[in-house]
Subunit: 707 residues, 2 copies
């Protein structure tokens, strides 16, 4: 959890149900012209059969679009459940104040000219929010394109996009920060005949955030799947609560967060802990909750579409039925690339199928060949074998244009229906080139249709990711770590290591020495060779000023090194407070890792793990996770990086002590979580992961304490 | 060039023009039933208005589908230009023999039961091929679904896919090894209203290969773009000739080669040189010719579709015009990920646009905001600024559903047409949600329409890759390297290094020593520390048996090491011929690289470059290229790997001597090319790339010589 001030409604149910289904709605700035911003919602609600009371507010007209109009909010004959505010910014603040005072439950503010414009606008937005909160009124916007609910015809939006058609009612909820993109999304969905339950566009998010919008859809019994679009997450708690609730309710969330390229710039920063760009943190948060992150509108709707089948395999496997060997290979390529397993069919089942069609290749992909065109019953035999004997959680049937051919499609449909009827628990996807009407028939039978098999594989893979997250049992609790009080300012390396050691984070054996003789004695005690490091709270990046000497041997070597370091420190930073020299045992033979913590302004402390050297510096091969977490999560993180084979014993190397590393990572996350907002960052670099059983030790540690 | 026996037509024009446009066609096995394999082509040609003479051959009927039929090939009243063979395998061989003897130019053999079945079938196929070649007749198939040409109605195919519609004539040629996948491709293309010039499906490729088919489309003046599908390349020369001709003619080739996942298994092999799997070699060959490799049918047709605009920017840049800031970011993410530059608009142009729309964000993406809905002339101003002032080679305009709204679309169209008329040389892509009719209007205006902006970006990026390849000037010739005669069998390390040194490939200074005293003296001369290695033609993998000692110092150390190595060799391989011990200067301070050559069965020797250690072993970060090539290509290869920053001086490291490394790589490629087919592989591992000016040296070398 972030330790930023929580929003008043975090954790609690969203309280937004009324926003989507009010009994009455006032329209402040109502227009008689159905093409104007204040006229459109009324026209849309009329057209779409909204049954509640519409109360137009317009000082200049007694009637608006056939409805009795009222001159002011004060003049309304009843307190509206909710209100649409479609007047210029200055008037909008006043309208919200009046609506809130009268006890309206929520306002949808179309008006622009607030925080998205300038500081004056931001101040006005703040006043509007204060007025609403003062009376417990919720606020969608300002600068929001509004929302709509296809089930009750409540179209509280001024989107001009309905001239070519209306959204089709269905079970996908859309939550978007952007009105333009939200409109794009539901327009494309309509073209694909995907049904929408409701769509909420949050605009400036003065109050209602994308998290609240998602939460309201989790609570909506008519929404099965949530498609969300975000440009930036400004507040963590409502999003975390929503994603937790979605997982608990087994409602998949597919989210597009634009601005991935920010990662590029973040990664370019020199400090290793800064590799955690905001976008990478969001990625980590989404992964935590099993949210699938879409990279294109198309992918987003592919995933949402398939998710409406509500089959989310906890252990996904793919069986492929195909009439083209080539397409089978194409599908296998895509599945392997995503890590979606395609286990082989049992040998006896393969033999049976080969008896039916001698030249069939029934391994999986199960190629039943064009022979099915002559004998459609073969489809049933092959499909039954794949589902019953193969036991696949997901089945992708590639029938290309034959699935759209009038001479064959009805027979295919009959065969597939029979198989599905016997095994309704599987996820069935059909890749055919067919007319929209034929596609609808297949969809009605329970088959999701994707013309492109590669896209089908990606969507099937996503269903497994949802299923995995839904099935995940609560993991280990974060380890109990003694609370450690941070010092007032950034501590020296030795002090940092003392703090970490107190939290059970193992550091390389070392001693702080004030004189060359002490250093020589310490080296003797620790065992040669040793590392010498200048010790000063004022010198953070020691190696850059030559403040670290490696591989120092012999008493004379240690004495000479001591003198060298003091001399360099004096020349580099004449005013630095020198606390002496750290003499540490030089660790060897392990794998160098980097563990770090960085404070994300929205999500709080985030732990980073990566391998030292080129992996972090050149390849940016790191994994992030919000603090705190347990050792099981830590181990999963460690195993997830691309360089993990190095730790697991690639090419005859001894496997590293991963349990010790996981223990350190989990403890670090608890340490950072408990340290509070003054902790700016932690950098353990390098950490030596020694061979299994020998532990993991931080050889250097920097803790940055902020103001 | 491969040194496998070249096909008789490699390099020469394909000679296949007649296959696609014959004046007469015999159909051996002609059927009166238009739904049977021997009946379909006749029915299709009738239906599609083929103007040539159709000569049915059927021993049992005097008339077939209204045409006079002949009882045998011998009975044909004239020599047909080409023939379709649609009889069972045994009869097919005889038919081909007779057709060839009569002087038919080419045969299209539908019949299956040949090499795809078993060894007997393969022998029959060989006989059929011999009969054809004996009379200079070309052969498409056997086991081919045939071909069609939309311009003359020549449908020499038994595809059953036309009941839902016919391919639309156009300028995309389709070449596919698979009939099922070829059918899928032209069926999807038809659904997308993409026009096809011809489609050739090569089947078993006894004679006509996918390369020949591509070549015929390069020569076809009515084909602008070639979409090809391959499952495996069995013959290099015809493909290389076709791709060279395509590049020369500025005709883009987009190719899907399935079986990428084979790379995974190849990469798992332990020998580094084996990392070059067949699929990775094909990838390298395609890159060489600027072929874009598609990973899905959809991507393939996206690229082919946009390529029909025939704008291939040599230096691609993207300007984005958008009505949604979010979509602008989404597009920027996609462009950055692909490496497609989106330079900023000039400041003065930005200022002018901000005068027009104060809240516009004209940096690029150029967000003209929903304000354009009120004033469509703004589209023209913003588009003109992007094209004229921004100077972008490619322009992507995102207008989502507004581009399909009857109230706005005609105005948008007018504005965009005017801009394009002034600057017809740019690549224009429109991302709109619109009806098929509206899309056709935009397409007629010269705008390629993609509903999904992410897919649009990928296709635009591909146009730049074509443009780059088309604009590429001939590079440096491969360096002149003295020809070196390979020994009869795999040489020892010292001998291998002598061969390489003779070719100008620098190896670490070293001496071969027969006695411990010689070794001590050699170490003295080379300078300590040294590396000692057992020297035996019978021990290839020295380090695995402890046959390499690093960091050996002092005369006594060298003597002891010498004894250790001889002892280990005797115990490990009692029968190995021991030639002594190699004493080499131990190189330090450089970047460890791996250079290798592996022999691809189709494309001949292929050079590999990668960084040592984890980069090759864990990350498979290698680049491949057919031998031979010049130093410019070598340098491009070196700079292309993910780990390249390590060589270029990441994090304060000195930059490595890349010219020396490039010289070594180019020379290695010439060495391998000249060595002939007996060279099985070369492995230089490690090669030390020292700091710039200090050279690059192979510290170990293995040359494997085959039978």
């Amino acid at each position: 959890m972030s330790d930023a001030a929580p929003s008043p409604t975090a954790g609690a149910p969203s309280g937004l149900a009324r926003l989507l289904a009010p009994c009455s709605v006032a329209v402040v700035g109502a227009s008689n012209d159905p093409t104007r911003i204040g006229g459109r919602p009324i026209a849309y609600m009329h057209r779409q059969g909204y049954k509640g009371t519409i109360l137009p507010v317009n000082p200049n007209r007694a009637e608006v679009q056939g409805l009795h109009a009222f001159p002011s909010v004060a003049a309304l004959p009843e307190v509206p459940d909710i209100a649409i505010v479609a007047v210029p910014a200055a008037a909008a603040v006043q309208a919200v104040e009046e609506l809130a005072a009268r006890g309206t439950a929520a306002a949808i503010v179309f008006s622009a000219g607030f925080a998205e414009m300038d500081a004056t606008g931001a101040a006005a937005q703040q006043r509007m929010l204060a007025a609403a909160r003062g009376h417990g009124m919720r606020l969608l916007g300002p600068n929001s394109l509004g929302l709509f609910n296809t089930r009750n015809g409540f179209y509280a939006t001024f989107s001009a996009s309905f001239e070519t058609g209306w959204p089709i009612p269905g079970r996908i909820g859309i939550a978007s920060q952007s009105g333009a993109y939200g409109t794009h999304l539901f327009s494309v969905a309509r073209g694909r005949r995907l049904g929408i339950s409701s769509c909420v566009m949050t605009g400036n998010e003065a109050d209602v955030t994308i998290g609240h919008a998602i939460r309201s859809m989790v609570e909506d019994p008519d929404t099965d799947v949530i498609a969300a679009y975000a440009e930036g997450i400004k507040e963590a708690d409502s999003l975390l609560a929503a994603l937790g609730a979605a997982r608990g309710a087994r409602k998949p969330v597919v989210l597009m967060k634009v601005g991935r390229s920010a990662l590029g710039s973040a990664a370019a920063r020199s400090h290793t802990a800064s590799i955690a760009g905001d976008d990478a943190v969001i990625d980590a948060v989404l992964g935590e909750f099993g949210v699938v992150r879409a990279r294109s509108t198309e992918e987003m709707l592919d995933v949402a579409h398939l998710a409406t089948r509500r089959v989310y395999p906890a252990r996904n496997t793919l069986g492929v039925l195909t009439v083209s060997g080539g397409a089978g290979v194409l599908i296998s390529d895509a599945a392997e690339e995503l890590g979606l397993p395609m286990p082989e069919m049992p040998q006896d089942a393969q033999a049976r199928l080969r008896e039916l069609v001698p030249f069939a290749a029934p391994r999986n992909p199960v190629d039943c060949t064009a022979q099915v065109l002559n004998d459609p019953s073969l489809v049933g035999h092959f499909a039954e074998a794949a589902v019953q004997n193969g036991g696949y959680a997901s089945v992708l049937a590639f029938f290309t244009q034959t699935g759209g051919a009038p001479s064959f499609a009805p027979k295919l449909r009959e065969q597939l229906r029979a198989t599905r009827a016997k095994h309704p628990d599987r996820l069935y996807v059909l890749s055919v080139v067919a007319s929209p009407e034929q596609v609808q028939d297949y969809e009605r039978d329970g088959f999701a249709v994707f013309e492109d098999p590669t896209r089908a594989v990606a969507a099937i893979h996503a269903m497994g990711r949802f299923g995995e997250a839904f099935a995940r049992r609560p993991g280990l609790p974060p380890p109990a770590v003694p609370a450690v009080a941070l010092p007032d300012a950034t501590p020296s390396e030795a002090e940092a290591k003392r703090l970490l050691s107190a939290a059970g984070i193992a550091c390389a054996p070392e001693r702080t020495c004030a004189t060359a003789e002490e250093a020589a004695a310490a080296a003797e005690a620790l065992g040669h060779p040793v590392v010498l490091k200048i010790l000063s709270p004022d010198i953070l990046h020691k190696s850059e000023m030559g403040g670290v000497l490696l591989d120092v041997r012999g008493a004379d070597g240690v004495r000479a090194g001591f003198a060298t370091l003091l001399d360099r420190a004096r020349r580099h930073a004449p005013d630095a407070r020198i606390e002496g020299v750290l003499v540490a045992k030089q660790l060897k033979g392990g794998v160098e890792c980097i563990l770090g913590v960085n404070r994300d302004p929205v999500f709080g402390p985030v732990t980073m793990f990566g391998l030292g050297g080129v992996f972090v510096e050149v390849l940016k091969d790191v994994v992030l996770r919000r603090c705190p977490f347990g050792e099981d999560v830590a181990e999963t993180m460690i195993r997830s990086i691309r360089g993990a084979p190095l730790l697991l014993g690639a090419r005859g190397r001894p496997p590293a002590d991963i349990p010790a590393l996981a223990r350190m990572l989990a403890r670090l996350s608890v340490f950072a979580h408990q340290a509070g907002p003054r902790l700016a960052s932690i950098d353990l670099n390098p950490v030596f992961a020694l061979p299994r059983g020998e532990g993991a030790f931080a050889a250097d540690a920097v803790i940055e304490v902020g103001g």
